[in-house]
Symmetry: C2
Subunit: 454 residues, 2 copies
């Protein structure tokens, strides 16, 4: 870090005291995210109001200091990883949370944890559905930046389906007010901020719509000796017009990891597990029909829990997965692909084959209803030869995904780890217009530089 930059950080320290961190060794969490990439932060700052944020951003623009906005750091693609010489600007202390039960709206600071909003909404018999697996840690600001999906998204939609307005601070310290924060109805700036991964502006307030809390129905766990049978069950459930509120897939090795992390449910010979939840007036009928489809597809174990408390026991195996798989490996390289649900059996079959052939442990799980699969490569040595094998595996996974009409980022964004594949997902004119919008907002490339675009 050069002297100028250090002196800039010292100025911030003088102004913000112990909310500006220059000795970041004790803040090792802020050097990484779920991508496991580590870049030590040179400085971290914790504004506690929108006006402080405006002050910091304006200061950085004048001093040409790169800014990396950060929520909880639960993202998988390195979007929140520090940039050398840059300032990590944590939004976690912006914790406004106001619910308007009559209008079924919530006004949230970006630092609100997903589960905090869900719990507060539930007190008013309301529901905020988009629940990334990390919903006990992920912030709403991060969810907006990544347009996060989640377990309930097949039935209820993803983050962007619930955002009805944003307040955001631009690099120039200007306040943008979109959606319900503005009175206008022209082309909508909300939706370019949603999914913009910290490249355009800092979101400082999020207006979300809530829905009536649905009646939660039974949870069903079904085990299969063959992963493709599980995937075909998913396809058939969809084909029959059943929309479970949750339909999660995990393969046998993922189940092993979860049980090694915390013993929950062990089923002999289970090479795949599906977890279903149903909601709403048809929930019992739908649960019955799901069970029938599972039986027609050779389920080897079927468990149904009708109470929400009992269901929790079944959910544990899923909730622990991300941490469990991480703990099982020296390093977990996690890819997040998505195919049309009807092609899921082919994708699952491909991953099994890959696993059999490759000298690296692979497992997978995901939001089956969306055709979304998190495929994890579990590195042990992390030596060059092993990483080369993994990179070759990833490339083949991506080729297969695209061949099946799928996409390389189900819900985890581009960040650092996917940027070399951006051109597989978007054509050149679309990427060039995204870059034009980036330049319009941030001509000096100070906001999260080096992310998303090569």
């Amino acid at each position: 870090m050069n002297e100028n930059r250090l002196s800039s950080f010292k100025e911030l320290k003088a102004r913000f005291g112990d909310r500006a961190i220059l000795e970041t060794d004790e803040y090792a969490d802020y050097a990484t995210d779920a991508s496991d990439i580590v870049v030590k932060a040179d400085a971290i700052i914790f504004p506690e109001s929108e006006s402080e944020l405006v002050e910091i951003v304006s200061f950085c623009r004048e001093g040409r200091v790169p800014i990396i906005f950060r929520g909880a750091g639960t993202g998988y693609t390195g979007g929140a990883i520090p940039v050398p010489g840059g300032l990590v600007l944590s939004l976690e202390r912006l914790k406004k949370l106001e619910i308007d039960p009559e209008k079924k709206l919530a006004y949230c600071g970006p630092g609100i944890i997903t589960i905090e909003l869900m719990r507060e909404a539930e007190r008013h018999s309301l529901f905020y559905p988009p629940d990334p697996a990390s919903y006990e840690e992920s912030t709403l600001g991060g969810n907006v930046a990544e347009c996060a999906g989640g377990l309930h998204c097949k039935k209820y939609g993803v983050t962007k389906d619930y955002i009805i307005g944003l307040r955001a601070v631009t690099l120039h310290g200007e306040l943008l007010e979109t959606g319900i924060y503005s009175t206008g109805e022209l082309f909508d700036l909300s939706s370019i901020l949603i999914g913009s991964e910290g490249l355009l502006a800092a979101v400082t307030e999020i207006a979300v719509r809530l829905i009536d809390l649905p009646e939660f129905g039974p949870t069903i766990l079904a085990a299969f000796a063959n992963p493709e049978d599980a995937a075909r069950t998913v396809s058939q459930v969809t084909r029959e017009g059943i929309i479970p509120s949750v339909m999660e897939y995990m393969d046998g090795d993922a189940v092993l990891c979860s049980n090694a992390y915390e013993k929950s449910i062990e089923i002999d010979g289970a090479e795949a597990i599906l977890l279903f939840e149903t909601t709403g007036p048809g929930r019992f009928d739908e649960a019955d029909r799901i069970e029938k489809v599972c039986r027609r597809h050779n389920t080897i174990h079927l468990k149904r829990e009708n109470s929400r408390d009992e269901s929790e026991r079944l959910w544990k195996i899923r909730r622990n997965l991300s941490k469990a798989v991480k703990e099982a490996a020296g390093r977990k390289i996690s890819e997040d692909v998505c195919v049309p649900p009807s092609r899921l059996p082919e994708l699952v079959g491909f991953v099994s084959q890959l696993d059999n052939k490759y000298p690296v442990r692979i497992n997978s799980y995901g939001h089956a209803g969306d055709g979304n699969l998190h495929v994890n490569f579990l590195a042990e040595t992390m030596e060059e030869a092993e990483m080369a094998v993994i990179n070759e595996g990833i490339r083949r996974l991506f080729d297969k995904t695209l061949e099946l009409g799928g996409t390389l980022t189900g819900e985890h964004g581009i960040g650092l780890t996917k940027k070399e594949f951006l051109n597989l997902e978007f054509d050149e004119p679309t990427i060039s217009h995204m870059k034009k919008i980036k330049s319009a907002f941030d001509p000096d490339n100070l906001l999260n530089p080096g992310k998303m675009f090569l």
Copy 2:
């Protein structure tokens, strides 16, 4: 028109033959839209494919010829009005219409008329709800450019709620593919194209989602001696949690105009009429409850039709309104304001007062469920003194609308006629970022120049 420009147009004529019009006198319709502003077009062109459109746009960019994209010209704010020296590029011949009944999707050219899509969807028992009053003429491309609302929008949402992907040609002749036309899930270019009023790109294909055709319930017509009673009925229906599929308001003078145009329903002493339609499983129960609310608010005439054919008779009075009011005046200056539904009685009361005081005929109608009111000033002489009175009335209407927490453009956009009021609806940073996006797409300001921004 200078020589260079004329020679450009002649080149287009040589290439496109009788689909390039240089003698535009016989195309008087293309000189205007529902704003009644008239600017003779210097040239008009009718591409018949996306590739022809790319060719024309690229040609214009090289020759720096302004382009005005045009659908059916049913807009109220002058968005489709020609620009001197510019080329009017009509999208009306791009008429692709493919329905995928299984996925409940339609793929439409921008030239498809709204009713054509609705009818084709209905053949598959599907429904495309956003129905601007001009739905028998308005094109889907125009609806996207203006993010059009409509009679069914309170219950079913506006145009943007149904768009799931766009193909669009930029000024550089590049093809943008957004939403389902792309495989990516980053920040979404669809939504800056929706409502962009021809300033950013030409939409060449629109993917829309369709919903199951609902069961259409009774139509109810209720007349009131006092417009505020009608508006209070609207507020109360909303407060009781009833969401009619249609809830239309029209004042007594609007009803007079409609009957003068084509006699449909005349009710002595009716100073306001409400029209309701209900859909779905609760349709009969909701209709009963609506009738009760009308009675509690002093309705002087209540008519209910249960069959869709009989209902048509009641709808006629509403459907004819736009043309009828236009025919009643030398010139109709139509404003399109929107307030929170709970404030509609105040807005309606204000318009009645304005009407009593002003020496110009005023009437109003609109999508009451959304708090949307089209307020029409009927000019007779169109002389300076009269127009000054009208402009003063418009200014007072706008002030009142904003005082009630409303917006100046319910569904008709900004175009030419509202651009001086843009800063009443958006704060300066938001406008400046809209302009930055405009510059990013169109640095030379060739696409619909002079519209939206001052």
